[in-house]
């Protein structure tokens, strides 16, 4: 099992103004899971894109089973047996599962026409390799599947290519715990079948659970290599260049928790029932639950995106149901969406414009863009500084920043509004440990300043470590509540137990 399937030697890559990779060497063997980790912007995705032919390296060589290869297009690498599952899905929501699986290489029958029957049958076969795969109908339109199942389809697609190398770039970002377990089982199975797996993640737990070897990138260089899965602290040290002792911020002290800022009574709509919820100033409330339990729906209701149709919200003593995000923001609620690119960022605009977006939205249309009621340019720059955003300039388009830095810019946006309640949806998705710790401390700081924080996360340790109180949801209702010190088992049990037992 020492045959190196992939060898990358001396890879260097520069983008205008950034050296993304310098002299990186990296290899993967058949039947192993090689974890690739590093801070945001360390160069992980860039390395993968060079491997798969999206980018061309400035220097260095890539070898596949000992032979030097020059992929100039991802298809070439795919044909050579390297499948990449990207951070963003590449599925077609309007097409069926089978059509997606065989996209670009549909089986042909008579007259060169597509053999739909065979395509369906082959899809069935591939899906049957996975536990939940058996439940997916090959004719189902992908857009109608939930995200975890879509993720499954993505992986099935890679498998159906009979790839010998499978790269997963943060595959669990959109999954909750149970779904993650399913994914891990799949990864195990792929490893047994002799596949070489490159696994990129920011979650230490996954490294411990899966990795045979670990490569740590820092600032575009290899900072460390480990055989086996080392102690998380060692990885963190290599990534960040120092230890992080206070990963989670300390919990709120009793005297820090104040009056209720947000109260919901009897809230309900198409996806939610009987929501009774209180968030106090100074506390962080975690929302847990399995996929589809209604956490995001609850956030959307609080934020006025999918308003409550029943019940009422009391915010700082004033009653209202918000009909739009704008109304919610005006009343003092802020929300960090879970999908940065499509819901959080205006990508072609500058970092500063992204930060100023909400302050500007709440100023007169016709007044100066440099000074608004909530913040002026100077204050936004201060907040961006405080977030330690890595950018060549705040005038730079935000799309050139790494995911974590983009997330920080959105946080800065909300900080400028001094919200009473701030809802974080998957706040650390795709964010490195250092930044994660930063976000946890930031949430705590905000709470100390008197805000109520609601955090939705699919990362159980994160909920347990960061929240003062944990609410568990199931089928659109809040079914359980835990204080600090709840175990993962407690929460999982509450999230998956039968309705009667939980109620």
């Amino acid at each position: 099992m020492t045959d190196r399937v992939i060898e990358m030697r001396g890879i260097t890559k520069t983008f205008p103004g950034v050296r993304a990779l310098s002299d990186v060497s990296f290899d993967v063997r058949a039947g192993e899971v090689q974890a690739l980790v590093g801070e945001n912007g360390a160069g992980k995705s860039t390395l993968i894109k060079i491997l798969s032919g999206v980018y061309r390296a400035d220097e260095g060589e890539v070898r596949l089973r000992g032979e030097t290869v020059h992929f100039s297009h991802p298809v070439e690498s795919l044909r050579a047996g390297i499948a990449v599952i990207y951070q963003e899905f590449s599925l077609l929501p309007e097409r069926s599962v089978a059509q997606n699986l065989f996209l670009g290489r549909e089986p042909r029958g008579r007259f060169g026409l597509i053999d739909t029957g065979r395509m369906r049958a082959e899809t069935r076969k591939v899906l049957d390799l996975f536990a939940i795969g058996g439940r997916i109908d090959p004719d189902r339109i992908v857009g109608t599947l939930d995200v975890a199942t879509q993720q499954m389809v993505e992986i099935a697609k890679a498998v159906s290519h009979e790839a010998r190398v499978i790269v997963m770039d943060e595959p669990t970002a959109a999954l909750n715990d149970a779904e993650c377990e399913e994914l891990f089982a799949t990864v195990d199975r792929l490893r047994e079948r002799g596949a070489a797996i490159i696994y990129i993640t920011h979650r230490m737990r996954e490294i411990t659970r899966l990795a045979d070897r670990v490569t740590v990138l820092k600032d575009g260089e290899v900072a460390a290599r480990f055989d086996g899965a080392p102690d998380p602290d060692a990885i963190v040290h290599a990534m960040v260049g120092r230890d992080i002792d206070d990963f989670y911020a300390p919990p709120a002290r009793a005297d820090e928790i104040g009056e209720p800022v947000l109260i919901v009574t009897g809230g309900g709509n198409a996806s939610l029932r009987d929501i009774d919820l209180t968030v106090r100033a100074g506390e962080i409330v975690g929302l847990s639950g399995i996929q589809g339990a209604g956490r995001v729906a609850l956030a959307m209701a609080l934020f006025g995106q999918e308003p409550f149709e029943r019940g009422e919200i009391t915010l700082n003593g004033a009653r209202s149901t918000f009909r739009s995000p704008r109304a919610a923001i005006a009343a003092g609620i802020g929300l960090l969406p879970g999908d940065r690119k499509s819901e959080g960022l205006v990508l072609m605009q500058s970092v500063r414009d992204n930060g100023m977006l909400t302050p500007r939205a709440f100023s007169s249309l016709w007044s100066s863009h440099r000074r608004t009621a909530a913040a002026d340019i100077g204050r936004i720059d201060d907040l961006l500084d405080r977030m330690e955003i890595r950018a060549a300039s705040y005038d730079q388009e935000i799309r050139a920043l790494s995911g974590g830095n983009q997330q920080k810019a959105i946080v800065a946006r909300w900080l400028s509004m001094r919200p009473k309640v701030l809802i974080f949806i998957e706040p650390t998705r795709g964010i490195d440990v250092n930044a994660k710790a930063g976000i946890y401390h930031l949430m705590r700081d905000l709470a100390r300043e008197g805000a109520g924080i609601v955090m939705i996360s699919s990362d159980l340790p994160e909920v347990i470590g960061a929240a003062d109180r944990i609410l568990v949801m199931q089928e659109g209702r809040i079914v359980a509540e835990f204080g600090r010190g709840a175990s993962e088992q407690d929460i999982m049990h509450a999230a998956t137990a039968d309705m009667e037992n939980a109620a």
Binding site: D353, T358, H369
Partner: protein, 329 residues
């Protein structure tokens, strides 16, 4: 946040030659060619006439660039011009005193049509290409319906003042057409609103990512409707200038919407939103007018002019895409 504040704050991007909008060198080259062909162009009569002729298109493009930057198209500008010209002749009914109220009414119609366009897009969720195609057809019909097919009135000289008259004895340039003053004021105001106000930044934001903008609290509909209203207003002003320049006819506006889009795109505006500049759209309009003028001076027949216009359009955008790819922005 952990750690100490960073010592140095990221700097502000400087001005660089590579960053200059290609519409300006293009315009400069065209003007140089025109002056070379016809030195009279360097005289006030030459360039003032040129600016006067370019004024309606420049104003139109400055309005259109709001809609384009916000992610849409406004195909109704041309018909709106026709409606304004025909409607003004119907309403003024040869009465010089009527101008005083007819012009505000026309500006209101421009704003109103823009509001309707915006409402169709925002509330009926019809893509603007189709929505404004619909209003384009409807407004054209309305203009004919109103006039019975042939305008029934003249435009009084008071009305035509804006598009036709010159202000004499101006130092340095001898005279300035009124329409050039209108051009400077309107384009100046639109440039200010686009590049110095919250409105402009939000127009960019909703064109870039409307979902993110909405979730950030941007009043997406209000901004979008405002963009369409400014586009409508610019068409009304262009109509007043065009009616003033040459009097009433029922097809004054025909084709202007595409020229305005062309001008905006020559100025680097990105179709489908997120990027756009009013000064550059002005540059685009001037460049387009300069192309026409140059081809005219060359005495080229109409068909050749069309071909050249088509090729320049494609080449300009292809070049912009090439640059964008190379600089990675």
């Amino acid at each position: 946040m952990t750690g100490s504040p960073t010592a140095s704050r990221p700097g502000t991007g400087g001005w660089s030659l590579a960053g200059i909008n290609p519409v300006w060198p293009l315009l400069a080259a065209l003007v140089a060619a025109i002056v070379f062909m016809n030195p009279g162009f360097a005289e006030p009569t030459g360039y003032m006439n040129f600016l006067k002729r370019a004024a309606p298109l420049a104003i139109l493009a400055a309005g259109q660039v709001y809609v384009i930057t916000s992610g849409g198209f406004d195909l109704s500008q041309g018909s709106l011009i026709t409606l304004v010209v025909v409607g003004s002749s119907m309403l003024t009914d040869n009465d010089p005193a009527a101008t005083a109220w007819v012009i505000p009414v026309m500006l209101a119609i421009g704003l109103g049509v823009g509001a309707v366009n915006g409402a169709i897009v925002c509330f009926l969720r019809v893509p603007s290409l189709i929505a404004t195609l619909g209003t384009m057809i409807t407004l054209n019909g309305l203009a004919f319906l109103w006039s019975g097919g042939a305008p029934r009135g003249y435009l009084p000289d008071t009305f035509r003042f804006f598009g036709r008259e010159l202000i004499h004895d101006v130092p340095l340039v001898r005279f300035v057409p009124v329409s050039v003053i209108v051009l400077v004021v309107v384009v100046g105001a639109l440039a200010w609103a686009m590049h110095r106000t919250n409105l402009g930044r939000m127009v960019h934001a909703i064109g870039d990512n409307p979902v993110a903008a909405r979730l950030a609290g941007v009043p997406v509909n209000r901004v979008r409707v405002t963009a369409f209203m400014l586009s409508g207003l610019s068409a009304a002003i262009a109509g007043i200038l065009l009616g003033g320049f040459a009097g009433v006819s029922t097809d004054v506006g025909t084709g202007y919407e595409l020229e305005a889009i062309t001008a905006a795109v020559l100025g680097g505006a990105q179709l489908l939103g997120g990027r756009g500049s009013v000064p550059a759209a002005l540059g685009g309009a001037l460049a387009l007018t300069a192309i026409f003028t140059l081809l005219n001076f060359l005495g080229l027949p109409q068909p050749v002019r069309q071909v050249v216009q088509g090729l320049i359009l494609i080449a300009a955008v292809a070049l912009a895409m090439h640059r964008r790819k190379r600089t990675g922005t």
